[in-house]
Every structure is written in C-alpha cells, then in structure tokens.
C-alpha cells in the first residue's frame, strides 16, 4: 500500500529526508517516531505529493507520487500537523465541502458525515461554527475529514495531540478500528505509548534517516538488549545456591527475589522454573520487567553513529 525506496528530500542544501525506505502493507500501522525536525512531516508531505522528492521513489495505493499525483491524493486521507479548518464554517458544511472535492455522491456524503460525527462524538456540535471548537474537537473534526472518503491509505500527523485523555482514547480506538478495515496507516507521533499501542511496527527517524525499525518488542531487543525478568520466591534464599541454566545472568538479588537477563527466554525460563522447583524453591511469580519505549527511543536517538538510511519492511 505504501512503498518508498530511498526517498530523499533536499531543501536547497539541507537534507530533510535522507534515503527513507518504507513498506507498509494493508491492515498495518507504522508509527514514525522522531524528534521535531526529524523529517516525519516532510516524509508525509512527499507521500501526499505536496512536496516533490529530490530522489527516490514512492508509491501510495499503487500510484506513483510523481506520475499519478492526482490519484495518490485521491487515495490518501491526511491529518495534517495543523488542523487546517475554516473557522467561519459549520462542521457539517466543512465536511460536505471536502466530500464534494473528493467526488462523493450526495446521499453517500451525507450518510458518511453523520456516521463520522457519531463515531467521534461530535453530533452535539454539528451546528456550531468551527471557530468555537476546542482544540480536541478540532482535531477530531480534522480526523473525520481525513476519513471522509474512506481512503485506503491514512497519513496521520500527531493524531491525538492537544486532546484530553478521553478524546485521545476515542481517537486511538478509532485508529485501531481503521486498521482492521485493511488500510495502510502511517502515524507520526511523539507519543511513545501511543506508538506502542497503535503500531504494528515503529520506525525511529532522526535527521531524515531511519535509525531503528521493528515491532516494539524487536526494538527493545535490538536497542536495550535481552529482556529482564524477576522471580519472587515464597521464602528467603538464606545463602542457598540457585540452580541456574548457563545462559541466565543474575542482575540483582534480594532476600526472597532476584532479577536476571536471558537471551532465549522462551527456552530458558521454563527450565529455570523446573530447576528451582526441583531444588525445593517455591516460586511465587515470574514476570518480565517492563521496559518502556521511551528508553528505546532515547537509546536510538542518542546513538551517535548512523549507518545511512534504513530499510523498513
């Protein structure tokens, strides 16, 4: 659905996006994670044909961004960084305007507008001027505009920014629903929890290059090393030796608990439990110590060495 190969964008001498390759299939969500000025918005703008790539190629919904720019724009729903709303218009009027631009037939347009207003809990405000909307409502309306023509590709730039927690939850749930409708979705976000919750895969972008890519779990593994686990015992250790498999590395130890790292948890953890039980340790709990995506992100961003544009599939 979205395929880019070595997508590059220069603004005069400044390289904003440097050899980005992305493959996002239908039904998948890719989160583009990166600091301000990393190239997320520029990438999205190239995918909407508003910016012309300096080099590289991009196909969106099967159309080339240079050769078939009109078709690309017709196949994409965009939530822009700025809401881009007309303050003097009413909400329904605004959506109707964009519905006409996207060639939606009259009856279908009306039906779809009402459906989206319902979906985003905006029905009560349908007759109010957009200028009187809160930031969250504006964001929801922008999202409704992006979804209006049921595009096969969605590009969402900061979809929940400025929203209260309830609205943000509503929008996140909506995005999850959209994924199940066989859409390819790219979400640009600073919100790490959101990226982890919504995305099938995450690409961390910095200075125009993709510096890390994978699922949240893969990224943690790649950037923070093997997972860490904690075992809680029923009784104190009292100086007894632990029967550890060879690849288990103890990281911390308490009176009745210890934490450890292990390369192949699926294989080693059952063996460890077996050993402990066999040597009369009563295991109360085995849990993975949660590692935040924030640590992954900071680790990736702080890495000083860059290895060129990554390839994301």
């Amino acid at each position: 659905m979205i395929v880019t190969e070595n997508l590059t964008k220069y603004f005069k001498d400044f390289c904003a996006v440097d050899g980005v390759s992305l493959h996002v299939k239908a039904g998948k969500v890719l989160a583009l994670l990166g600091p301000n000025g990393a190239g997320k918005t520029t990438t999205v703008r190239m995918l909407t044909t508003v910016l012309r790539p300096s080099s590289g190629t991009a196909r969106v919904a099967g159309y080339d961004v240079l050769e078939n720019s009109g078709e690309v724009r017709g196949s994409v729903g965009v939530l822009t960084e700025d809401h881009g709303l007309y303050d003097r218009m009413h909400m329904v009027e605004y959506l109707d305007f964009f519905g006409k631009i996207y060639d939606m037939p009259d009856g279908k347009r009306e039906e779809r507008i009402l459906h989206l207003l319902e979906k985003f809990d905006l029905m009560d405000a349908r007759d109010r001027r957009i200028g009187k909307f809160s930031k969250g409502m504006r964001q929801k309306l922008s999202l409704a505009r992006a979804l209006l023509h049921s595009p096969p590709v969605l590009l969402l730039d900061e979809p929940t920014s400025a929203m209260d927690p309830a609205s943000a939850r509503l929008v996140r749930n909506a995005i999850k629903t959209l994924r199940s409708e066989d859409r390819a979705i790219i979400v640009c976000t600073h919100n790490l929890a959101e990226a982890e919750e919504l995305a099938d895969s995450i690409a961390i972008i910095r200075t125009g290059q993709i510096i890390a890519f994978g699922t949240a779990a893969e990224l943690k593994e790649q950037l923070l090393g093997p997972g860490e686990y904690r075992i809680q015992l029923a009784e104190p250790l009292d100086g007894r030796t632990l029967p550890l498999p060879s690849d288990v590395e103890i990281t911390k130890k308490g009176s009745d608990w210890f934490t450890f790292r292990v390369e192949k948890a699926q294989h080693t953890n059952p063996l460890l439990i077996q050993n402990l039980v066999a040597t009369d340790y009563a295991v109360v709990k085995l849990e993975e110590i949660p590692r935040s995506l924030e640590s992954v992100y900071l680790q990736a961003v702080n890495q000083t060495t860059k290895e060129g544009g990554g390839h994301v599939d």
């Binding site: 603004f11 703008r45 909407t48 044909t49 508003v50 910016l51 012309r52 009109g70 078709e71 724009r73 017709g74 994409v76 965009v78 822009t80 960084e81 700025d82 809401h83 881009g84 709303l85 007309y86 003097r88 218009m89 305007f97 964009f98 006409k100 631009i101 996207y102 060639d103 922008s142 505009r145």
Partner: protein, 476 residues
C-alpha cells in the same frame, strides 16, 4: 475543462460564502455599491445644473459617462484586497494544506480561488452601475447607448480580471500577507495609470478607443492567469517560509547558468550560444513573421500619410544625398566616432526593448523593436510612389549593413519573447525566479557572443560601406 470548472466552483462557492460572512469585506462592497453611486448621482446633478447655467453642457455630457465608469470601478478595488490574501492568507491561517493534499488539480485550485475573489466585487460593480444609471436617469434623464454600457461593463470585468489575476499571482508567490500587501503597489500603480488613461478617453469621448483598452487588458489578464497557473507550486506555497531577496543566490544561479558546462572556448560557444538558437526556433520564426508584418504595415501607412510632393526635391537628389550622408545629424559617416554612436544607439535600443519586454511579457519590447521594419516599409513605399525603385532603396540604404543588423534584431526579439514567456511557461524543475534568472543568463550569453558581434559589424558597414553604396546608387 468542464470538470475543472465544476471542481473550481466548489472552491469558489465556499470562499464566496465565507466572504459574505465577513462584514469587513461586505461592508465596503455595500457602501461602494449603494452609497457611492448615490453620491455620484448627486455630483452629476450638480454638474449638469452648474454647467447648464454657463452654456457648457458638453462638460456634463462627458462627466456623466465618466462617473459611470468610476462607479463601476470602485467596488472592484475591494477584489484586490481579497485576492492579495487568497493563497497566502490561507497559508498564514494554516488551512491550505488539506486543500493542497486533496485531489484538486493546480488549475482547479487556482481558478477556484480566482473566481472566488472576483465574483463578489464584480457583482457589487454591476449593482453600482445599475444604481447609478437608475439615479441619473431619474434626475437628468440620461441613459447610455447600449455600446457604451457594454464597454463600461466590459471595462469593469477586464479591470477586475487584471487586478485579481495579478494579485493572485502575488499571493501564490509570497510567504506572508504583509509581503503580498507590500507588492500590491506593482498592481495599484499601473492600474491607476490605466484609469487615468481611460478617464482621458472618456472625457475625449473617443469611446471606440475603449475597445482597445478592453482588448489590451483582456490579453494582460490572460497572460497573468497563465503565469499564475504555470508557476503555481504546491511545494513553494507550503514550504517557503521567508521572502528575502537573496542576491548571492541569484548571482550564483546566474553565474552557473551563464557558464554552462566546462569545455574548450569553441565547444562552449557551440553548445551555449549556437545551441540555444535551436531552443529559440519558434520564437525566431514568430519575430520574423511579426517583422514581415511590420514591413507591410509600414507600406500601408505610406498611402495614409504620404509625404507632400514638394517636400521631396528629387531634382536635387544627388546633392541632397551627398550633403545628407556626409552630415547626418550627430552621426558622422566615414568615421570611427560614427561607428561608436550607431553601435551605442543599437545597444541602448536592445537594453530598453528588453526592459520593456520584461514588464510586458515581451509584448512592448517586440513592438518597439520592430518599429524600424515599419519605417523601412514606409520609406520603400514612398520611394515607389515617387517613381524610384523600392528595391534599389533597400539595396542602397538597408541591405549592406542590414544583412548583419536584421538578424541581430530578430535574435534580440526572440530573446525578449523568451524572457517574457518564461514567466508564463510551466516549469516543474525551477521556481519562477530561478527559471527567469536562467533565461536571463541565456539572454546575456547570446547578446554578448552573438548579437553584439553582429551589431559591431553592422555598425562598421553602416558607417563606412552603406553610405558609399547609397552614394554610388543615388549620388551618381
């Protein structure tokens, strides 16, 4: 085309509705539509009464149509304000990106905006004209003849088109409303001059000349619209953040384009001078055709403006010619000084014509450049009328240096057309400024390495050879 119009109308309808919700736009239009024509009615009544007392009704006869034009123009002036912020205003309000990301084509988006800023003031203008006409008819019983009414309405439409299309070009090429407002003087000043000219025509009562004003403005509006669409660039509109004159950058672009690829001098000349002629092919053909046309226009004018028989003393032709050639005003024939004067005169003409061309999409530059062809045609015909051979006149006075000078003029004309057309030609690889600077580099290269050498040779021939041939043929 119909699809483009339909899609453009979606934008237009939204924007017009938006304008009608903004009292800051509607209030001036209403005032200029209702109050101002009333004031003009009052003025007309007073003028008619006043001049009637002194037996000068002609002043009233001229003032009333003039005021009709004025009431038609004033509401249109509002369109300039709206048009100036059409694109850049949306950019500043950050509402442009969803539109740019929509499937609308550049033409649809541009036309939609153009029509949106034109329609409300134009409707205001028509209403103003109607209010004025009703008032003036009731007060002094004056009604325009249908031709004048069509002309005034036509003027209102083309004036609105010129202002709006110019302002939309400005709006789509600047980065802030402030910058667009500052650049508005490039529209206001020519429009003011135009209005002064139209007012003179109205008082002169040469109403048929108004057709030319309408025609000329329609052409300018078309060129401006084409310029706007050709250089409408989503990326520039969204991406450019600062308006600044970057002379260093402009110089670098010019220098790089002027230098071209590195090569031996001969190879460089072949590619970067001679090679450009291929690109100028159609412009050269066009200038050639226009020049031939100019000669014919000159020939036809010989019948309209014949030189009185007594003025040409063919009996003293030999003596007169010798004196004339040896002492022709400031030009000293058969001297290096004369060569310099002729060469500098030609260079000045090239510079001025190119400058005129820059500000008029090439049109004015070409018109002034080809004037000598009309003069040649005119004098050839005059010679024919007096029994001398026009062919001999051409051989004696024109051809010896013309062999070099005429190609130089035609080449310059083609370069001027190219400079003008760059502004109305779509270019996806370069911005409007960059494309124009590159064309200017081509202009400079060809002028320096082709036109100037031709003109030097032509000046030499004109000073030292042509007079001899003329003397040999006509001086005995």
């Amino acid at each position: 085309m119909w699809t483009d119009f339909k899609k453009a109308m979606i934008i237009t309808r939204r924007e017009v509705r938006d304008q009608f919700r903004d009292w800051r736009i509607i209030a001036p239009i209403i005032i200029l539509t209702v109050f101002f024509p009333g004031l003009m009615n009052f003025t007309a009544q007073q003028a008619v009464d006043f001049v009637g007392k002194y037996g000068a009704p002609i002043i009233a006869d001229r003032l009333i149509p003039f005021l009709l034009m004025v009431v038609g123009f004033f509401p249109i002036s509002v369109s300039l304000v709206i048009a100036l912020e059409s694109f850049v205003g949306e950019k500043e309000r950050r509402s442009i990106e969803p539109l740019l990301s929509s499937p609308l084509t550049d033409v649809q988006l541009y036309l939609g905006k153009l029509m949106a800023v034109m329609f409300p003031p134009l409707i205001g203008s028509f209403l103003g004209i109607a209010v004025y006409l009703i008032g003036v008819y009731r007060q002094v019983g004056w009604a325009p003849d249908i031709t004048l009414l069509i002309q005034v309405i036509g003027l209102a439409v083309v004036q609105s088109l010129v202002m709006v299309s110019g302002a939309v070009v400005v709006s789509s090429q600047t980065t802030s409303v402030r910058a667009a407002n500052l650049l508005a003087s490039f529209i206001i000043i020519p429009m003011a001059l135009l209005l002064v000219g139209e007012s003179m025509i109205m008082f002169w009562a040469k109403y048929e000349v108004l057709w030319w004003a309408i025609f000329g403005q329609a052409i300018i509006a078309w060129l401006l619209i084409r310029t706007g669409i050709a250089h409408f660039n989503r990326e520039e509109l969204l991406g450019k953040e600062l308006d600044s004159i970057n002379l260093k950058w402009a110089w670098q672009v010019f220098r790089d384009a002027f230098r071209g690829e590195k090569a031996s001098p001969w190879q460089w000349w072949r590619v970067n001078v001679w090679g450009i002629l291929k690109e100028l092919k159609w412009a050269l053909v066009l200038v050639l055709l226009i020049s031939v046309g100019a000669v014919f226009v000159g020939i036809t004018q010989a019948d309209v403006f014949p030189i009185p028989a007594g003025l040409l003393d063919w009996g003293n032709l030999e003596e007169g010619l010798v004196t004339g050639i040896e002492d022709f005003g400031p030009i000293r024939f058969f001297s290096v000084q004369g060569l310099g004067i002729i060469f500098l005169h030609n260079m000045r003409a090239i510079a001025l014509d190119s400058l005129l061309g820059i500000f008029s999409f090439g049109v004015l530059g070409i018109i002034t450049l080809i004037l000598p062809f009309s003069i040649i045609g005119y004098f050839s015909a005059i010679m024919g009328q007096t029994g001398l051979s026009p062919g001999l006149f051409l051989i004696g006075f024109v051809l010896p240096h013309g062999i070099f000078e005429i190609p130089a003029i035609i080449l310059t004309g083609a370069l001027i057309i190219r400079l003008g057309l760059t502004l109305v030609t779509p270019n996806k690889d370069y911005t409007i400024g960059e494309a124009w600077i590159r064309t200017l580099a081509d202009w400079t290269r060809l002028i320096l390495f082709l036109v100037i050498p031709l003109l030097v040779v032509a000046a030499f021939l004109e000073v030292f050879i042509t007079p001899r041939i003329a003397l040999a043929l006509f001086g005995g």
